[in-house]
Amino acid sequence: MSVQDAYQLLYIIVLLMLGALIAVMLIRSVTTKGVMERILCVNMLSTMVICMIAILSRMLNEPYLVDVAVIYAMISFVTVLMLSLTHIPPGKKRARFMAARREGGAGADGRRLEGKEPEAKAADGDGKRA
């Protein structure tokens, strides 16, 4: 078998394996609970897609697909950045949250701070929802 056929076979095998990993990540991004877990899975997924596009550009011998991969990388970067920026609480609320977490202790039962300390509850009127 010539070198070209070997290359094509190699690319196809690698693409299939990467495709299986992408399928696993896709299912994981739906079944895990938690916003940041999902964002992380989507980030991994887009990294694997970028790798697949790079391999495709070698397989089909088209040089412009690498530009497409760079654009995908940029899009995934801006996506994760902006998605996580909207969830970081800004300055004042962050200070309240850190104070509540330090004083109230970690709620071992459930994620909601049940306001055990009256201090934490008096500090911010809606102690549960920060």
Binding site: K33, G34, V35, Y64, D67, V68, V70, I71, M74, I75, V78, L81, M82, L85, T86, H87, I88, P89, P90, G91, K92, K93, R94, G110, R111, R112, D126, R129, A130
Partner: protein, 311 residues
């Protein structure tokens, strides 16, 4: 068990993000104050007699007319569209749109337009009128959002500290962080140059005006997010955005007007086609690409800017 959970999620009875992430009610004192001011002013206005007459005419005449006209125009539009769709040829039949035109584009596309990329040749040469309309749509959307969301200095925001104060209540301000500044100092020029490269290579490969403009817009967004409003406004100010989009659209309209004029009168338009594969090829495709790219980039950046400053 799973079926009922799925159904309750489907019908919106349960909150998926309940214990995981909660949105807070933004207790915006300035917004409450504004609402109270508005209510007070409206009450005072309604007390005077002249206002009663004006508002009375408004409520009776205008709203009734508005509803009637809205319903009538919707029905007319639906009727026209349905009639047009009913008279389309059946799917799959031999009609000129799918056989003759496609054959002509594919066979003679490269030699008639001078571009290797047949898609770019189509959207910017054969069907450039469509792209003109699209660019105008982008421009109109930006104007409408600007009218609705932009606050003049006389209105509410006096200085940039107000912007930061309002935005700082809702979003975390990353423009003061060292990591973002250092990374953006290296990345933004690279992404911008890459966007220009994608734009200029519209006729030789995939790319062109829209994707190049989107990449440039993303570079501007990263720049604005990393360095803050004041520094970004010095470079990409509103005046620059307005003038650049206006100039781009005027140039596009003028160029296409010239081409239509010479084409309709069977004259020769002396625009060189060049050799396919070079950068300066394809006649008017490169300048039109640049115009479209400018409009797209400033539209994206304008939307980001207006929505981030908040109200």
């Amino acid at each position: 068990m799973n079926k009922s959970r799925f159904l309750s999620w489907l019908y919106g009875e349960t909150d998926v993000m309940e214990d995981i992430l909660e949105l807070d009610e933004t207790s915006d004192e300035s917004r409450e104050q504004l609402k109270r001011e508005k209510r007070r002013l409206r009450r005072e206005l309604l007390r005077s007699g002249r206002a009663k007459k004006v508002i009375g005419a408004e409520t009776k005449g205008f709203y009734a007319l508005y509803h009637v006209v809205a319903v009538v125009s919707c029905i007319m539009l639906i009727g026209v569209l349905l009639f047009a769709v009913a008279n389309l040829p059946r799917y799959g039949e031999e009609n000129p749109e799918t056989t003759e035109m496609v054959a002509r584009y594919v066979e003679k596309g490269v030699e008639e337009t001078g571009a290797d990329n047949i898609v770019a040749g189509m959207i910017l040469d054969y069907r450039a009128f469509d792209t003109l309309g699209e660019s105008h749509v982008l421009f109109t959307a930006l104007i409408c959002v600007t009218i609705l969301l932009r606050l003049d200095r006389k209105n509410m925001r006096k200085t940039y500290e107000d912007y930061y104060a309002i935005r700082g209540e809702r979003f975390h301000d990353i423009s003061r962080e060292a990591i973002m500044r250092n990374v953006a100092a290296v990345l933004v020029p690279c992404i911008f140059v890459f966007g220009i490269y994608v734009l200029l290579n519209g006729q030789n490969g995939p790319g062109g005006g829209f994707s190049g403009g989107a990449v440039m817009g993303a570079a501007m967004i990263i720049f604005s997010a990393a360095f803050g409003f004041d520094k970004a406004d010095r470079v990409f100010s509103k005046r620059l955005g307005a003038w650049v989009t206006f100039a781009a659209l005027s140039f596009y309209s003028a160029a296409k007007g010239y081409v239509f004029f010479t084409g309709a009168n069977h004259l020769e338009n002396h625009i060189p086609k060049g050799t396919p594969g070079a950068i300066l090829s394809g006649g008017l495709i490169l300048p039109l690409d640049i115009a479209v790219g400018m409009v797209v980039a400033f539209t994206m950046y304008g939307f980001y800017n207006l929505f981030m400053r908040g109200k």
